[in-house]
C-alpha cells in the first residue's frame, strides 16, 4: 500500500469525528484501532513523501524493515491493550486515538522536527492518561520533566538545522562525516529522549507514575510508549555518527540504568514496583544494544519486553487494584489459573529461559556483545541472574499453595477478582506468541524480520541510513 500516512491520519480523523458523535466515542476507538491493524496487512517498505515535496524539503515517512517491525508490534499491542482493558477506557477514548496517531508518527517520520511534534502529541496524551489515577502531583512531575526533555530535544534539533541546513534525519546522516562536530546537538537530543526512555538520571518520574497506574495506563506506558520511544531512539542513534566520547557516555549511562533498575526491582516491595524497575532495566539494556549497533537483538529485546510487560502489568492490575505488599498476594494464581500461566510465561520470557522469545533475544544479545568486549556480556549475564531471582521469587509467591494447615485464600473474597473474557483471551494469545516465537525463532525471523540470526550491523539494516562507528 502506498499510503502509509493513513496509519497516522485515520486515527486523527476518528479522534476529530469523535467530537461530533460523542455517544459513539468508544466505537470510533475500536474502529480506528482495527482499521489500523487492518492497514498493516497492506503496507510495503519504502520511503513516502507527504505533500509531494521530496526530502529534504518535505516531510518523509520512512518504512524500512526496522520501522516495519516496530509499527506492526506497536499497533498489534495497542489492539490487545484496548481490548483487554475496555472497561477502564471510559471517557479517554479520544485521547487513546491521538496517542495511537502519535506513536505511529514517532515510528514512521523521517524528519526531526516532525518527530518533535509527534513526541509532544504522544507525551501530552500520556500526561492526560496518567491523570486517571488522580495522583496529580506525580503527573505534574512527569509533565515538568517531559517538557524540559522535549525542549532540550528541540534545541538540539535546531542546532542541527543551523549546521546542516535541513531537518531530514537521513539527509543529515549522509552529510555527517568523522570530522563533524555534533556533540552538543546530539547530547541535547539524547537527553531529551532519555526522559521517555527512562535512562538513569532522568527516570525519577517513572516510579510514581507507574506505581499508581491502572491496568490500561500501566500497559500503555510500560509497553506501548516505552517500546515506541526505544525504537525512535534507536533510529536516531544509529542514523547519526557518534563520536567516541559520546558513545562511551551513553554506554555508561545505559549500563548504569540497567544495573540500578534491576537491583531496585530485586528490592521491590510490591508487584508494580518490581515491574516498573524491571522496565527501567530493560530500557537500559535496549539502549545499550542500540548504541553498540546490535539492532536485531535490540529489536528482539524490545519486542519481548513489550509483550511481556503488557501481560504482566495487565495481570498485576487484575490481581489487586491497590498496590499492596507482596505477601498479601500469596497463592493468588490458584484462583486464576489461566492468567497465572500467562503471567509465568511472560516472566520466563523476560528472564530469557529457553522455549520463549526472551531466550532467543538474550542469546543474540550476549553473543553479539562478545564482539565488543567481555565486560558487557558478563554484566548482562549477572543481571539476568538477578532478574531470574526476583521474577522466580514473584512467581513462586503467586503460585504459593499456602502453608500446611493454612487454607488457600478463599475464592471470591476479593472484589478485585473481576476480569473479562477478552482480557483472558488477549493474555493467552500474547503468551502463545512468546512461546511460538521461542520454539520457532527461525520461522519468526524469516517471516517478520527476514534477516539472518547474527552479525548484522545497522548500516545494512536501516535502509538509506548511513552511519559511522
Amino acid at each position: 500500500m502506498k499510503y502509509i500516512v493513513l496509519l497516522i491520519v485515520l486515527p486523527l480523523l476518528f479522534a476529530f469525528l469523535s467530537m461530533l458523535v460523542k455517544s459513539h466515542k468508544d466505537k470510533l476507538l475500536y474502529l480506528g484501532v482495527i482499521v489500523n491493524v487492518g492497514l498493516l496487512f497492506f503496507i510495503e517498505q519504502g520511503e513516502y513523501i507527504i505533500g509531494g515535496f521530496s526530502k529534504p524539503f518535505g516531510i518523509t515517512l520512512v518504512l524500512d524493515q526496522y520501522s516495519m517491525v516496530a509499527v506492526v508490534l506497536i499497533n498489534v499491542l495497542f489492539l490487545f491493550t484496548i481490548f483487554s482493558h475496555y472497561q477502564s477506557i471510559q471517557k479517554y477514548s479520544t485521547v487513546l486515538l491521538t496517542l495511537l496517531a502519535g506513536v505511529n508518527g514517532l515510528l514512521l517520520t523521517g524528519d526531526l522536527f516532525n518527530l518533535f511534534v509527534f513526541l509532544e502529541i504522544t507525551s501530552i496524551s500520556a500526561y492526560i492518561l496518567t491523570t486517571q489515577s488522580k495522583k496529580y502531583y506525580d503527573t505534574f512531575h512527569y509533565i515538568i520533566i517531559g517538557s524540559i526533555g522535549s525542549g532540550l530535544y528541540l534545541l538540539g534539533v535546531i542546532l542541527l538545522y543551523g549546521q546542516f541546513g535541513n531537518l531530514n534525519l537521513s539527509v543529515i546522516a549522509q552529510q555527517l562525516n568523522h570530522s563533524s562536530n555534533v556533540l552538543l546537538p546530539l547530547l541535547l537530543i539524547f537527553v531529551g529522549l532519555a526522559v521517555e526512555t527512562k535512562l538513569f538520571p532522568m527516570n525519577g518520574w517513572v516510579k510514581n507514575v507507574y506505581k499508581n497506574a491502572n491496568g490500561l495506563v500501566g500497559s500503555i506506558m510500560a509497553s506501548i510508549i516505552a517500546s515506541t520511544i526505544l525504537f525512535t531512539f534507536g533510529r536516531i542513534i544509529n542514523a547519526v555518527y557518534i563520536d567516541t566520547f559520546f558513545y562511551n557516555l551513553i554506554i555508561i549511562i545505559a549500563v548504569l540504568t540497567l544495573i540500578t533498575g534491576e537491583l531496585a526491582a530485586f528490592n521491590g516491595k510490591t508487584m508494580k514496583e518490581i515491574l516498573l524497575y524491571s522496565s527501567i532495566g530493560q530500557g537500559g539494556l535496549a539502549t545499550l544494544l542500540m548504541v553498540t549497533g546490535f539492532i536485531f537483538p535490540a529489536v528482539l529485546i524490545i519486542t519481548n519486553n513489550g509483550i511481556s510487560k503488557l501481560i504482566m502489568f495487565s495481570i498485576a492490575d487484575n490481581l489487586s487494584k491497590e498496590d499492596v505488599q507482596l505477601d498479601n498476594l500469596k497463592g493468588k494464581f490458584h484462583n486464576h489459573k489461566t492468567l497465572g500461566i500467562a503471567f509465568t510465561v511472560a516472566s520466563f520470557s523476560l528472564i530469557g529461559l529457553p522455549l520463549f522469545l526472551g531466550f532467543y533475544a538474550k542469546v543474540n544479545t550476549i553473543i553479539g556483545l562478545f564482539d565488543v568486549n567481555l565486560l558487557l556480556p558478563a554484566i548482562i549475564l549477572i543481571i539476568t541472574i538477578v532478574e531470574g531471582a526476583y521474577l522466580m521469587k514473584l512467581n513462586i509467591l503467586l503460585w504459593h499453595p499456602g502453608n500446611e494447615g493454612e487454607a488457600v485464600m478463599p475464592y471470591d473474597e476479593e472484589k478485585s477478582t473481576s476480569y473479562s473474557m477478552s482480557m483472558i483471551l488477549a493474555m493467552c494469545i500474547l503468551s502463545l506468541v512468546l512461546f511460538t516465537a521461542g520454539i520457532l525463532p527461525e520461522q519468526y525471523g524469516d517471516t517478520i524480520l527476514d534477516k539472518p540470526l547474527l552479525n548484522d550491523t545497522h548500516t545494512e539494516y536501516l535502509i538509506d541510513m548511513k552511519g559511522g562507528m
Binding site: E120, K134, Y137, L155
Partner: protein, 111 residues
C-alpha cells in the same frame, strides 16, 4: 545580541524550574524557557540585511530572512500553549487535592 539573551533566558528558565518550590512558578519557568528557546530558533535564521519573508511589489525573494525557523516557532508557540494549559489544570487539581501550591508542603501530604 538577541541570541545571547535567548540563551540566557533558556538558562534562567531552567534555573527557575529546578530551584523554585512553587508549582505556578515552575510553570512560569517553563514558559521563560520556551520564550528563550523560540527566540533562539528565530535568531538561527536571521540575516542582518534581510527583510521580512513576505513578497510585495517592491522586494525580492533573495533578500528574505530564513522563513523555516519562523514556521517552526509558530508550531512551537502553539504547542507550548497547549502544554501550559494542561500543566496549569493539573496544578489547579493539585491545589484542590492538597490545598497548597508549595512542593515541600505537598511532599509531606503525598505519603
Amino acid at each position: 545580541m538577541i541570541n545571547i539573551a535567548a540563551v540566557v533566558l533558556i538558562l534562567l528558565g531552567l534555573y527557575s524550574l529546578l530551584t523554585t518550590q512553587h508549582i505556578i512558578k515552575m510553570i512560569v519557568g517553563l514558559n521563560v524557557f520556551e520564550v528563550g528557546l523560540n527566540l533562539f530558533i528565530i535568531t538561527i535564521g536571521y540575516r542582518s540585511n534581510g527583510i521580512v519573508p513576505i513578497l510585495t511589489r517592491t522586494n525580492n525573494v533573495q533578500d528574505f530572512v530564513d522563513p523555516l525557523p519562523q514556521a517552526i516557532v509558530l508550531t512551537s508557540i502553539v504547542i507550548g500553549f497547549g502544554l501550559t494549559a494542561v500543566a496549569l489544570v493539573v496544578a489547579k487539581k493539585i491545589h484542590k487535592t492538597y490545598g497548597t501550591y508549595l512542593i515541600n508542603e505537598i511532599g509531606g501530604k503525598v505519603e
